[in-house]
C-alpha cells in the first residue's frame, strides 16, 4: 500500500473543495477536529455544508468566518458556556452572510448517517412526530408503517462528501483506532464518500491489527491520514488530553461582538501558521491538559 499520510494543509487543499459537505465533530463533545476547522478557515473555503450532531464551537467558528452555506445539525452552540454568537449573527442578521439551516435532532442526524452507512435510502422512526423540526428541516417525510398502520417519519440518508474524524492512532493506510465515545463517528465515516483521519499518532499496522475491534473505520474507506497531535483542543481526546473548559468560556465572552470574533480568529486561527504553532502559543496551558489515563485491562486475540 502507498502511504496516505499528508500534512493538514495538503489534506484540506487536495480533498476539500469549496461547496463540499463535511461531517465534523461526530463524537459530540469529545474528539472534535478543531485543527481541521481552523485550516479550512486559513484556506478560506467557501460554501461548505456542515453536518454533525453538536459540534460545540467548531461550527460557530466556521460560520463566523464565512465558510458556510448550510448547516445540517442538531445543535449549534457552546456546550458549557451557552449560545453561539457567530451562529446568532448569521441567523439573526445575515452577518457575515446568510446561512441555510436544516434542523435535526441527535437521533435524526444519527439515523440519516446510519442510512448513508447502510446504503439504505432512509430510516423510519417515531421520534420528532409532533415536533416542528420536520417542517423546518424540509427533507423528511411522514408515512404510514405498512405493517402496523402507525405513523412514522422517514429520515433520508445523508452521504457527506467528506467525513473528518480525529482519533488517537491510525496506520499509514488510515485504519484508525478511536476509543472513548463514538457518537455518530462511525456512521459518518462509513456514509461519506471520502474520509480524512487526523491521528494523534501514526502507528505501525501491527498495532492496529493487534486489536481490530478498536478500528472505527478501515483504511479502505480513507483518503488521507494526517498526523496531528493535539488536533482536538479545546475538546478532549480520551486518554490523551482533557477538555479546556476555560477556553470555551473565554471564546464565549470574546466573541459576543463581531469585532471580538474577528480578533479571536486573528489571534487563534489566521494568526498562527498551523496547529503546532497554536499548541506552542497555548504553551504551559496545553501541557497542563495532557493526561495519560488508566490502562484498559488486557485482551488477547
Amino acid at each position: 500500500m502507498t502511504s496516505k499520510v499528508v500534512s493538514l494543509r495538503e489534506a484540506v487543499a487536495r480533498h476539500v473543495p469549496d461547496g463540499a459537505s463535511i461531517a465534523l465533530g461526530c463524537a459530540l463533545e469529545p474528539a472534535i477536529p478543531f485543527a481541521f476547522a481552523h485550516e479550512l478557515i486559513r484556506q478560506r473555503r467557501m460554501g461548505l455544508e456542515l453536518i454533525g450532531p453538536i459540534s460545540d464551537i467548531a461550527f460557530d467558528q466556521l460560520i463566523g468566518a464565512g465558510c458556510v452555506a448550510r448547516v445540517s445539525a442538531a445543535w449549534v452552540g457552546n456546550v458549557s458556556a451557552g449560545l453561539a454568537h457567530a451562529y446568532r449573527r448569521a441567523m439573526e442578521q445575515g452577518v457575515p452572510r446568510r446561512i441555510e439551516v436544516r434542523d435535526h435532532s441527535n437521533f435524526s442526524i444519527a439515523q440519516a448517517l446510519l442510512a448513508g452507512a447502510l446504503g439504505a435510502p432512509y430510516l423510519p422512526t417515531r421520534t420528532l412526530l409532533g415536533s416542528d423540526i420536520p417542517r423546518a428541516n424540509g427533507t423528511f417525510r411522514e408515512a404510514t408503517d405498512p405493517f402496523s398502520g402507525e405513523r412514522v417519519l422517514l429520515i433520508p440518508a445523508i452521504t457527506p462528501d467528506v467525513a473528518v474524524i480525529a482519533v488517537q492512532r491510525a496506520d499509514e493506510d488510515g485504519n484508525a483506532h478511536l476509543w472513548g465515545p463514538w457518537g455518530v463517528t462511525q456512521e459518518a465515516a462509513l456514509a461519506a464518500k471520502s474520509v480524512l483521519v487526523l491521528a494523534d499518532e501514526i502507528v505501525e499496522r501491527a498495532v492496529i491489527a493487534s486489536d481490530p475491534n478498536r478500528t472505527i473505520v478501515p483504511g479502505t474507506k480513507v483518503t488521507a491520514v494526517v498526523r496531528q497531535p493535539g488536533a482536538c483542543h479545546p475538546s478532549p481526546l480520551q486518554g490523551r488530553y482533557r477538555r479546556d473548559h476555560e477556553f470555551f468560556h473565554e471564546y464565549h465572552n470574546a466573541t459576543r461582538s463581531l469585532a471580538g470574533f474577528e480578533a479571536w480568529i486573528a489571534e487563534w486561527v489566521t494568526g498562527v501558521a498551523d496547529r503546532d504553532a497554536y499548541l506552542r502559543k497555548l504553551g504551559a496551558r496545553w501541557e497542563a491538559l495532557r493526561e495519560s489515563g488508566k490502562p484498559a485491562f488486557e485482551v488477547r486475540f
Binding site: 415536533s131 465515545p181 473548559h245
Partner: protein
C-alpha cells in the same frame, strides 16, 4: 431545583441524564434514594456510578473512564426508541402549559429568528420517546409562555390524547420543575403542585405566562435535606452549574 429533580429519579431506573443540572440531580439521586439508577448519555455512554469529578459536558474524559458501556449515539437512541428508557431530563428557553419546549429559535419565522437558540440536541428525542420527561427551567414569564414560537421537543401538544394522535409511542412531560415551584401534568396541562420555600402561589402566578392552575393539595416544596445540600456542594464546590440562579 436540583434536589427536586433528584427526587424524580426512582431507584433502578434507566435515565437519560443530559447535562448541567440533571447531571448533578443524577449524582444526588444515586447517592441517596436511587443507588441502582443507571445513567445514559446520548453520545454513547452508560454509567452506573457517577463520574468522580464535576463534569462540564457529558463527553468529558472523567465521564467515560469507569463507564460500563461506551458505544454509539444510535445505540443509546435505539434503547430510547425501543422504550427501554424510563425517564429523561431536558430544559429549554421556553415552555408552554402543555410542556412543549422551544430550544430552536425565538420569533415567528424560523429562517429569520429574533434569537437563534442552539437547537434540539437530543432533547426532542428524549421528549418524543422516553417514558417520562422531567422538564427543568428557570422560572420567568418570558420562559413560561402561553404558547411557544417553535415546538422543538413535543410535550403534550394541545393536551388530551395529542401525543397518540401525532404518532408518538408514549411519554410526555410528567413534571416541570422551575426555580420557583413544581408543576405536574394533568390531562396534558401543567398544574402547580408545590411552591419552593420562599416562593408563593401568587408570585408564581405573576411569573407565569399562562393562566395558572393550582392543585387543591398545593403545598410548600420539601426543603432539601442537609445530606443532599452537602452532596451538591461537594460535587460542584465552586457553584459552576448550581450558582446560576438555578
Amino acid at each position: 431545583m436540583v434536589a427536586q429533580a433528584a427526587r424524580e429519579i426512582r431507584d433502578g431506573e434507566r435515565v437519560f441524564v443530559g447535562l448541567r443540572l440533571p447531571l448533578i440531580a443524577f449524582v444526588v439521586a444515586k447517592r441517596t434514594h436511587a443507588p441502582n439508577a443507571v445513567g445514559l448519555f446520548e453520545l454513547g455512554v452508560v454509567r452506573d456510578a457517577p463520574a468522580a469529578e464535576l463534569l462540564y459536558t457529558m463527553g468529558d474524559n472523567p465521564n467515560v473512564a469507569g463507564a460500563v458501556w461506551c458505544a454509539r449515539t444510535i445505540d443509546l437512541m435505539g434503547l430510547l426508541q425501543r422504550g427501554d428508557v424510563d425517564a429523561g431530563f431536558i430544559g429549554g428557553a421556553e415552555v408552554d402549559v402543555h410542556g412543549n419546549l422551544n430550544t430552536t429559535a425565538i420569533g415567528s419565522d424560523r429562517t429569520h429568528p429574533t434569537v437563534q437558540l442552539p437547537g434540539s440536541g437530543g432533547g426532542a428525542d428524549i421528549a418524543s420517546l422516553a417514558h417520562r420527561l422531567i422538564v427543568i427551567m428557570p422560572h420567568d414569564k418570558r420562559r413560561l409562555r402561553a404558547s411557544v414560537d417553535f415546538i422543538t421537543s413535543p410535550g403534550h401538544g394541545t393536551g388530551g390524547d395529542w401525543r397518540a394522535r401525532v404518532g408518538l409511542p408514549r411519554g410526555g412531560p410528567s413534571v416541570l420543575i422551575t426555580t420557583l415551584g413544581v408543576f405536574r401534568f394533568v390531562d396534558g396541562s401543567a398544574v402547580l403542585d408545590s411552591y419552593h420555600p420562599g416562593a408563593s402561589v401568587d408570585r408564581i402566578r405573576e411569573a407565569t405566562g399562562w393562566s395558572l392552575r393550582v392543585a387543591p393539595t398545593v403545598r410548600e416544596t420539601d426543603a432539601p435535606s442537609e445530606e443532599v445540600l452537602a452532596i451538591i456542594r461537594q460535587y460542584d464546590p465552586h457553584g459552576f452549574w448550581t450558582r446560576r440562579g438555578e
